[in-house]
């Protein structure tokens, strides 16, 4: 399995951890037996790759839309104290995500001994 394929399948599993083969097939339009083979390591065709990418993007679009519209309603209706709490929650989640992710600039070689 090439790294590009590995990466997109990992992304899919992380966004839809509970999807069954049938659900993956339904979302991507790829035949269920083929989905099984792909997740078992068979090389993906370009069209299959694009179908998985599209399924990932669809989820992103719906969440992005909801997030933007809800944020706008919050900004117009909520008090500053509530907005502050929401902002803190978002920043907290972001910070944990950033700590989880590998950032090559975070090299240990840059750390000086005390």
């Amino acid at each position: 399995m090439n790294s590009l394929q590995e990466n997109i399948l990992r992304q899919y599993r992380s966004k839809f951890p509970n999807d069954t083969l049938k659900e993956i097939s339904h979302k991507t339009g790829i035949q269920i037996t083929r989905v099984h083979r792909i997740f078992s390591g068979a090389e993906m065709k370009i069209s299959e790759f694009e179908a998985v990418e599209k399924a990932l993007a669809e989820k992103d679009e719906s969440i992005t839309g909801d997030l933007i519209s809800t944020t706008y309603r919050c900004l117009t209706k909520l008090k500053a104290s509530k907005l502050h709490k929401i902002l803190a929650t978002m920043n907290y989640a972001l910070k944990i995500e950033e700590l989880k992710n590998h950032d090559p600039s975070f090299g240990f070689s840059n750390i000086q001994s005390a």
Binding site: Y92, E98, S113
Partner: protein, 160 residues
């Protein structure tokens, strides 16, 4: 805005507070992902909260006061409790190992006194549990208890 210290950062600081450790030992003590540990340590080193010598990390007892204050900051503590309790509720609902019980009930003044006495017992018991610096931080139990008056909570929730 103050620096919001996250639970993984706090856990690593708590682990180093027991004893200085190398990366592998921190991993064994916290079970956090090694990459996450490295990123947290980089953060803590840049903030002078932690020192390193021969690949062993230790708490900087002379850390700048402003960074120590971040640890004890009210919002940061509320966030820690909130996120841990929230995760505990989710795990409890999903039938995992965590247990979360929650009850809404009218208590007569006598019942309130009885409950208060039991809560004091719990607190006394927990305060007297022997401190074990050799135990892994990941194996520590998170325990929470308390009570509030429903109406008071709702009043704050709605009017805040």
């Amino acid at each position: 805005m103050n620096y919001m210290i996250t639970s993984p950062e706090r856990m690593i600081l708590e682990s180093l507070n027991k004893s200085s450790k190398n990366l592998k030992e921190i991993h064994n003590c916290t079970s956090l992902d090694p990459q996450l540990i490295q990123n947290v340590l980089t953060n803590l080193l840049s903030r002078n909260m932690v020192r390193t010598h021969n690949q062993v990390y230790q708490l900087n007892k002379n850390a700048p006061e402003c960074y120590i204050n971040d640890l004890n900051e009210k919002e940061s503590k509320i966030f820690e409790a909130q996120t841990l309790i929230e995760t505990c509720i989710e795990q409890s609902i999903e039938g995992q190992n965590s247990l979360f019980k929650f009850k809404k009930i009218y208590l007569s003044p006598r019942d309130k006194k009885m409950l208060q006495a039991m809560l004091i017992n719990i607190e006394t018991f927990l305060n007297n549990v022997n401190k074990n610096d050799k135990a892994s931080t990941k194996d520590e139990s998170i325990i929470f208890w308390g009570s509030a008056i429903y109406g008071n909570l709702l009043e704050d929730l709605v009017n805040d």
